[in-house]
């Protein structure tokens, strides 16, 4: 029996088509896995089912009856429960209250019924007895729990909705093996009781362990639905990547290898910190080392930590041959590091200030200047901006007058007046137009040719394959594979990103 059926569902945000044609059928008593790369439209599809996004077109059937989902409350009323990846817990309330938050038991129409709240919560807490870890109790405050314990509360909260159809969007990312196994037992029980479950995960081993069928989404379209028994990981990845995935990266313009032995620009040994662990690599002068993998596998956290803006617990960083203990970006800049973030509005742009003041801070720091003379500064700033082909009317216009791409060029230009030795690029082209991207990569390669060591994390595979000499694929905070030479293909990139580490 079909629990939920979506056909031809689409959604556009302005001119961007997030979902072109989404089809999905979830049967009663199955765990249905949804797979697709970053930006494939998978999360848009989930949001439509959960009611937080209204589709532009398409049909939705719940229990074979046409249905309209007008919002999250309407979804819940129609029997859809969701586990949120971004934790939606109230940190200052107890575990039991959080579990029952969606429907607090009420007495006399006004007061929270403490006794039945405790009873109800205890049922779900008992499900994870023995694996929930030290300090986990019904009356513990959620804010005091470890990340994995908070994720368990989130799972219990989803289970407590007792919805006939449950969506779990990456529910296991923080859990340990015992917790995952218990969770999968629980899912198995729910399945036998006829619930429908949509499961999103990037771990191929988990998908094989718990899933019955898999639906693959690519470029906003449902490609196919397969029985997981009758397929293998390679086939699934090939379907996610699409036709040309086995072709090696265009080799014409990328030098195959750089002789690191000659001179190392940056060396990282066994580095661990918040969001990454035991990462080691070396980037040579003139080399572009790519960081690949799914979003949030530690690439950004690592780059920020190297730049002194994140926590490091153990390991070693060397710039050239000297040890560097990253304590603040200020230190890192003095030692010749540069960092450009894709999140311009948070990390880069000094909003409301003139273009010239957005370029100058690094120059002040590196040259230990005290006086800001506009005329002398102009002579230094203009060439840097021009080398980026930045379009602007006056240096004294506010930076907010520029387009996103031009703003990013200004931010990069600030590092070019006094050349750094190592450039850390953290998804630098996020949200900028194609011609600006092309300018940017021309410059990045030119900088590499001039002897800079460059670390490039990009969420766009094409950027990595087209520019990086080597690619480290990140999975769960550590490097799962290194791709060099002809290994640099879309297929290998996906395979390393999705395979369990």
């Amino acid at each position: 029996m079909s629990k939920l059926k979506l056909s031809g569902v689409s959604k556009a945000y302005g001119a961007t088509l997030a979902l072109r044609r989404g089809d999905l059928e979830v049967m009663a008593g199955e765990v249905h896995v949804l797979m697709g790369s970053n930006g494939s439209g998978k999360s848009t599809l989930c949001k439509i089912i959960a009611g937080s996004v209204r589709p532009d077109a398409g049909r939705i059937l719940i229990d074979d009856t046409p249905a309209t989902i007008t919002g999250p409350r309407s979804a819940r009323a129609q029997g859809i429960g969701i586990f949120y990846q971004e934790l939606s817990l109230a940190a200052h309330r107890s575990v039991e209250e959080n579990i029952c938050l969606a429907a607090l038991p009420v007495r006399a129409g006004l007061f929270v019924d403490r006794v039945s709240l405790k009873e109800r919560a205890a049922r779900y807490i008992a499900l994870f007895d023995g694996v929930s870890g030290e300090g986990f109790a019904a009356d513990a405050l959620v804010g005091n729990l470890r990340p994995d314990q908070r994720q368990l509360v989130e799972i219990m909260k989803a289970l407590a909705s007792e919805a006939p159809l449950l969506i779990f969007d990456e529910p296991t990312s923080a859990l340990d093996r015992a917790q995952v196994e218990r969770f999968f037992e629980i899912l198995g029980n729910l399945k036998r009781r006829g619930r429908g479950i949509i499961f999103i995960s990037h771990r191929m081993d988990e998908i094989k362990a718990i899933g019955d069928r898999v639906t693959i989404i690519r470029d906003g379209e449902t490609i196919t639905t397969l029985n997981l028994d009758e397929t293998d990981a390679a086939t699934v990845i090939r379907l996610m990547v699409g036709g040309a995935g086995d072709m090696p990266a265009s080799q014409s313009s990328v030098p195959a290898a750089v002789d690191i032995a000659a001179e190392s620009a940056l060396t990282v040994r066994n580095l661990s910190g918040a969001g990454f662990r035991d990462v080691s690599f070396e980037v040579g002068r003139g080399e572009i080392l790519g960081f690949g993998g799914l979003h949030g596998q530690g690439q950004s956290a690592l780059l920020r930590a190297i730049f002194g803006a994140g926590a490091i617990t153990s390991g070693e960083i060397r710039i050239g041959s000297e040890r560097f203990d990253a304590s603040s970006p200020r230190d890192a800049i003095r030692r010749g590091l540069a960092y450009v973030s894709g999140d311009r509005s948070r990390d880069g742009v000094i909003s409301g200030r003139p273009i010239i003041e957005n370029v100058s801070p690094i120059h002040y720091l590196r040259d230990r200047l005290m006086i800001a003379s506009p005329s002398r500064l102009r002579d230094r700033v203009l060439p840097a901006l021009q080398s980026m082909h930045t379009k602007f009317a006056s240096l004294f216009d506010p930076i907010s007058a520029l387009s996103g791409g031009n703003q990013q060029k200004v931010i990069i230009a600030r590092w070019l007046i006094d050349r750094p030795d190592v450039l850390l690029l953290d998804d630098p082209t996020k949200g900028i137009d194609l011609s600006a991207k092309a300018d940017l990569f021309t410059l990045i390669r030119q900088l590499a040719a001039e002897g800079l060591g460059i670390l490039l994390y990009s969420s766009e595979d094409a950027e990595l394959l087209g520019n990086a000499n080597r690619i480290l694929v990140f999975n769960g905070g550590s490097v799962s594979r290194e791709l060099t030479g002809a290994e640099r293909t879309r297929y290998n990139l996906y395979q390393a990103a999705y395979e369990a580490a």
Binding site: A309, P329, I350, S351, G352, R353, P361, I362, Y364
Partner: protein, 318 residues
């Protein structure tokens, strides 16, 4: 045409137009209000306020809800310290200046450390400091006489020095030039705007955010102390809570001058005009016999009114 409109909408221009209008109104209400001698007297009072507001200005420009509510307490404390150190003798002026500035810097430093190291919001930190200072003033006054201004200091503040203007006006002009230079021609000034506009981006660009923020509170404390010293010269002897009013009025002057309470936007020229404007308003209220409590109410209402014009939607955004 657009240029004309944007020129007219500049806070400095608005304030200047209002200054002329208020002077005219004062003259109507009480002939002689806009006479030369009277205007000079108003300017002296405005200079005292303007010097306090210079410190308030840099703290507010630094953003992150930056505000210094302790300036009133520091002005009072400084006036008392100055009075006791010089005690009517010209030879005591230099030691008094040193003592006042040191005290202002010390309490500013405490504010800065509380805000950065202990992460106490500026509003709470400086309000608490104001309470401490007020208590301290009571303790000090019970133990020692309030002290007298040195004759040279009184002359500096009240008697013509060069071109018929008293020294304090020249001091204020110097503060104005210093502020303009600091804010627009030094790296320090650019960094104030940078942390006020986007603290995190400034941090990622190597701006030493914490030392900067501490420095801003120290500057504010020192300007307040300087004003307290001059205030002693103006009033002759220090008395209870002589600086109390400056907390509210210095904030109003800054906002009047077009500096955003959200930080990163504005400058000192507008603040100077704002200080003059406020003092004229105060003069008019006195002329029509509104007492101190009534004036406080008018000032409070003025600040709220200003916020609806300039700061709406931005001021409290985090």
């Amino acid at each position: 045409m657009n240029q004309v409109i944007s020129f007219i909408r500049q806070p400095v221009v608005v304030a200047l137009v209002l200054i002329v209008a208020l002077l005219y109104l004062g003259q109507l209400l009480s002939p002689g209000f806009a006479s030369g001698g009277q205007i000079l007297r108003l300017l002296i009072v405005a200079a005292l306020l303007g010097i306090v507001a210079a410190g308030q200005n840099v703290v507010i420009l630094g953003g992150r809800e930056g505000i210094d509510l302790s300036v009133g307490g520091i002005v009072s404390l400084s006036a008392i310290i100055a009075g006791n150190v010089m005690n009517g003798a010209d030879s005591g002026i230099l030691p008094a200046i040193a003592a006042c500035l040191a005290a202002g810097a010390f309490f500013g430093l405490l504010n800065g450390l509380g805000v950065t190291l202990l992460r106490i919001p500026p509003l709470v930190m400086t309000l608490g400091m104001l309470g401490v200072l007020q208590g301290l003033l009571v303790v000090i006054r019970m133990g020692i006489p309030s002290g007298q201004a040195a004759p040279a200091l009184s002359r500096f503040v009240t008697q013509p020095l060069v071109f018929g203007l008293p020294g304090i006006i020249w001091l204020w002009i110097a503060v104005g030039l210093l502020m303009a230079f600091m804010l627009h021609r030094t790296v320090f000034g650019h960094r104030i705007y940078a942390i006020g506009s986007n603290e995190h981006a400034a941090y990622m660009a190597g701006v030493p955010v914490r030392p900067m923020r501490i420095a801003l509170f120290v500057i504010s404390g020192m300007f307040a102390a300087l004003a307290g010293l001059c205030l002693l010269g103006y009033s002759g002897s220090s008395f209870a809570n002589v600086g109390e009013q400056y907390t509210l009025t210095s904030i109003i002057a800054v906002v009047f001058g077009g500096t955003s309470l959200a930080g990163g936007k504005g400058g000192y020229t507008g603040t100077m005009a704002g200080a003059v404007l406020l003092v004229i308003l105060q003069g008019i209220l006195t002329t029509v016999n509104i007492d101190e409590s009534g004036r406080q109410m008018v000032f409070g209402a003025t600040l709220l009114l200003l916020m609806t014009f300039y700061g709406r939607g931005r001021a409290m955004r985090v």
